[in-house]
Amino acid sequence: MSNNTSVVKNAVCTFCGCVCDDMELTVDLDEKRITKAKNACVLGRAWFYEHKIENYPVALIDGKEASLEEAVDEAARILVNAKFPAIYGLSDTTCEAQKEAVAIADYINGNIDTTTSVCHGPTGMAFQGVGESTASLGEIKNRADFVMYWGGNPAEAHPRHFQRYAVSPKGLHIPNGKEDRTIVMVDVRTTQSASVADIFLKVKPGRDFELLWALRALVKGAALDSSVEETTGIPLDTMKDLVERMKSCQFGVIFFGMGLTMTRGRHFNAGALLALATDLNDYTHFVALPTRGHGNVTGADNVVSWQTGYPFGISFNRGYPRFNPGEFTTADVLARGEIDALCVIASDPGSNFSKKAIEHLRAIPVITLDPKPTVTSQLARVAFTTATYGINVRGTVYRMDNVPLTTRPAFESPFPSDQDVLSAIKERVCELRGLKHASNRMTRQTAKVAV
């Protein structure tokens, strides 16, 4: 360790959706690495400590070292020449980079999709169907005397969620912290998180929807047949007790994870949970929040929504955005062998998509932007090495509750940011397509849409 160190206070950890902004990072400026990350959780420490500047080439074309300009040109040509290109990822980069990615998709008439489509996509769809009563995490800290987690394991996935936001902190109306709250955990198995719960409900696997629907019925005062116990694995009296606690609390919240959204029922499960929280507002103040995984997946949802009107799974192939999960989502267009080029930003579908999807990924030209080599970058036609957001790149990220924060980079990276690379690709795409200063733009040109 050298003596040339600096300390960055109030740094923002972009590893998970908690986006804790109270990091105190000690940085070795000579070695370009973080030596201490005060306040970071186990995941955050790994994120900061393992981040080193490696001696990778800034870009590879077909596995051979290339200049940034050459790679930008090649990437733009791939996208412009493709008949059905797609852009995917985006949950681990800044909003500034996400904006450029959506712009490129618009200019190449391609698809834009984010990792939301494989995590809380069903929540997004449920939200469109039934709405959502929600709150920023500080409201939970200040007011929630009933806190429920459903289908998630924050102790391991969001280690500071309990401590910073929802279980132990003292708040305006919660002077004694955890003592003033009832903590309920619903899951198919006893996880590390269960130890914090006052009440733990072990629901039968694949029966989340049935249990949520039974709770909705009880909230509405409907009588339930005792067969619901066999279906869900939860005694009726336990359900009734739970519903009483929910109705009588001052401020209730349900956090839910992928255990709910990525199991049987998907958006029906999320919809049932959001509807339950809404129903409870007849009795008290009640909210629900998905516990989002990636550091800026919420930013991706926001940017894509404000630019297009839709959150993910979008096609621009008619010259304007259309939304259809299943039709335009990346896992699906890959598995069906439809797209003929893919640009991946800060994601690794090559390691976690279905076998069929990966087979097609191997067959088409792929462009990747990532700070480190990934399975996907290894099979890419063009692979960019980019600076790591948060640690090396300043920009905007959104916490899981939609609160935006500006990152405070610890040190400079020799690599360009995702935004730099995407912006350059965008410019090149516009040149190749002759889009700059085009004339004859009708003001009221509205597409004929088949309804």
Binding site: K141, F316, P404, V451
Partner: protein
């Protein structure tokens, strides 16, 4: 150096007392000037009407709540695509359009400035990010401060000096343009007392030794004392409730002669008993405002068709949700705000909706001073801003108005004076309620007018007896001296400018704020304020108390 001549157009420029005179306008480097060389690029506006660019004083176009409403309604976007043309970005329309579409469509109507009306400070960064993607138009936003727990704690303890410093700090930290009050005092009972609300100005707010009136008075005073270009912008208590006109009058009286803006006042001008059908009290409200030059208002006209309720007034949205049983959003922001969102449709056959429509028109037409009763639909609450051309026709064309009135619920229309009103607004009055008036109320002295030195934001329409058709699509739109719409075609894409204020404050107030943040917020105090990098092209509008005096004089 960019120059432009606009010749032979019929000019309406109320600030400079030009009422339909043929007059040439000269532009250099984004400003109106005395003259430019004759061989400069020229628009021949023969047979056309030349107006300053439109100024929307109250709309919801950017930020967390708007984006939730956008994401919420794919069914609304699907039918209304905005095609990409050249480098101009594609998007979707409907009641809550995507950001690029918002900018292009405002410009298409001839609007060049729009103010986002309700942003919790914590959402300021988000709002500015969306502004960055909202092209062409200039914009700013109002920051929600009437349900701010820290400020209310200072108020209940009577720590008025610190209150003023903290308000000034918050305006700086968020980069806001003005102070917004929404349902003052209503958030605490909503969030903390099982979804209840306040309904009287002198009612004690649960958890505080404080009343809505004290909050209202304090924020009116501080807006005036800081010399903000735009006064406190108030969404009164009891929005939408029968009998709420009494609360509205009471709120206006609370100003005690000081400058205040009452927003979407149509929603606050109802008689009748709570829980029963509303009646119109537009005449009473208009009468009060006619006699009180310290008060300005925008109407918040309701237009039939789709709308989206989106407001900091969460209890109201819950009430409407329980009537419509439609999908609903509630979104609380810690220590600062509530929010409710609900898709909605105003239907002519429904008594209340028809009454609301008529009350709005009454307010426009019974108001004697168009400078102080300006046009808005509270987009998208009363309907989309894309309804403005139709609304203008309703105001300018009595026959059309009465025809429309006869198509809707007749019991409602009979409960108003609408059919007895002969008034037809003139082009000059339209120029006031859509341009000169809002610009003056906002204290944006270089907007809403075409005098030498003004911003070269200019709209040119083809003259057309059908005013809806006329205002539906400007033939030319000049923004900051550059032609953006050229003979109905988009030209090169443009960024707009952001307007904000930065009143002085004593930095010592941060020592008071910091411990509160550490205890009750979930983001670090040092990460809270929005930095200048989010502003892009911007103008810090200086506190200017003299401007208020000047405005007051010209209003009377």
């Amino acid at each position: 150096m960019s120059v432009l001549r606009i010749i032979n157009g019929k000019v309406h420029d109320p600030v400079n007392n030009i009422d339909g005179r043929i007059k040439d306008i000269f532009v250099r480097d984004g400003k109106i000037v005395e003259s430019v060389p004759e061989d400069s690029p020229t628009i021949d506006a023969s047979g056309m009407v030349v107006l300053p660019g439109g100024v929307d004083i109250h709309c919801h176009i950017a930020g967390h709540k708007v984006n939730m409403a956008r994401k919420f309604q794919p069914e609304d976007h699907r039918k209304d695509a905005q095609l990409r043309v050249g480098e101009l970005r594609s998007g979707t329309g409907g009641v809550v359009p995507s950001t690029f579409t918002t900018g292009y469509r405002y410009a298409t109507l001839g609007y060049t400035t729009a103010m986002e009306a309700a942003v919790p400070p914590m959402s300021a960064r988000h709002t500015l990010e969306e502004f960055h993607d909202t092209p062409v138009i200039d914009k700013g936003f109002y920051v929600l401060l009437a349900n701010n727990i820290f400020l209310n704690q200072l108020l209940e303890k009577g720590r008025m000096e610190e209150f003023r410093e903290a308000v000034a700090w918050w305006l700086n930290a968020s980069k806001a343009y003005a102070i917004k009050l929404v349902n003052p005092g209503g958030d605490e009972p909503w969030k903390g007392r099982k979804n209840s609300n306040v309904d009287q100005l002198d009612q004690k707010i649960s958890g505080f030794d404080l009343t809505p009136r004290k909050i209202i008075k304090a924020l009116i005073d501080v807006s005036n004392d800081l010399g903000l270009p735009h006064p406190a912008h108030i969404h009164c208590n009891n929005l939408g409730h029968s009998g709420n006109y009494a609360t509205t009058l009471d709120t206006m009286r609370t100003a005690e002669g000081r400058r205040v803006h009452i927003t979407h006042i149509q929603f606050h001008s109802y008689g009748g008993k709570l829980g029963e059908k509303p009646t119109s009290k537009a005449a009473e409200i208009a009468e009060y405002i006619n006699h009180h030059p310290n008060i300005t208002a925008d109407v918040g006209q309701v237009m039939f068709g789709n709308a989206t309720i989106m407001t900091g007034d969460a209890p109201l949205t819950w009430l409407l949700r329980n009537m419509t049983h439609k999908k609903w959003i509630n979104a609380d922001t810690e220590c600062e705000s509530g929010c409710g969102i609900l898709p909605f449709a105003y239907q002519g056959h429904v008594y209340t909706h028809a009454l609301q429509w008529a009350v709005g028109l009454e307010l426009f037409l019974l108001s004697k001073d168009p400078w102080r009763m300006v046009l808005s639909t509270d987009h998208p609450n009363g309907g989309s801003f894309e309804n403005y051309p139709r609304l203008i026709r309703l105001l300018m064309d009595r026959e059309f108005r009465n025809e429309e009135a006869r198509k809707v619920n007749q019991k409602a229309i009979a409960n108003t004076k609408l059919l007895d009103i002969d008034r037809e607004m003139t082009m000059q009055e339209i120029a006031i309620i859509t341009r000169a008036g809002p610009a003056r109320i906002l204290g944006l002295t270089d907007k809403g007018q075409l005098g030498v030195g003004a911003d070269a934001d200019i709209t040119i329409y083809d003259e057309n007896e059908n005013r809806e058709e006329m205002f539906n699509a400007a033939r030319y739109v000049v923004k900051s001296g550059n032609i953006f719409i050229d003979n109905h075609e988009f030209r090169e894409d443009r960024h707009g400018r952001i307007y904000h204020v930065a009143p002085d404050y004593d930095p010592a107030v941060e020592d008071t704020l910091r411990p509160f943040f550490e205890d009750y917020y979930t983001i670090q105090f040092d990460n809270y304020a929005v930095d200048d990098s989010y502003l892009g092209d911007h103008e810090t509008v200086k506190p200017y108390p003299a401007r208020f005096e000047e405005a007051k004089v010209s209003m009377t």
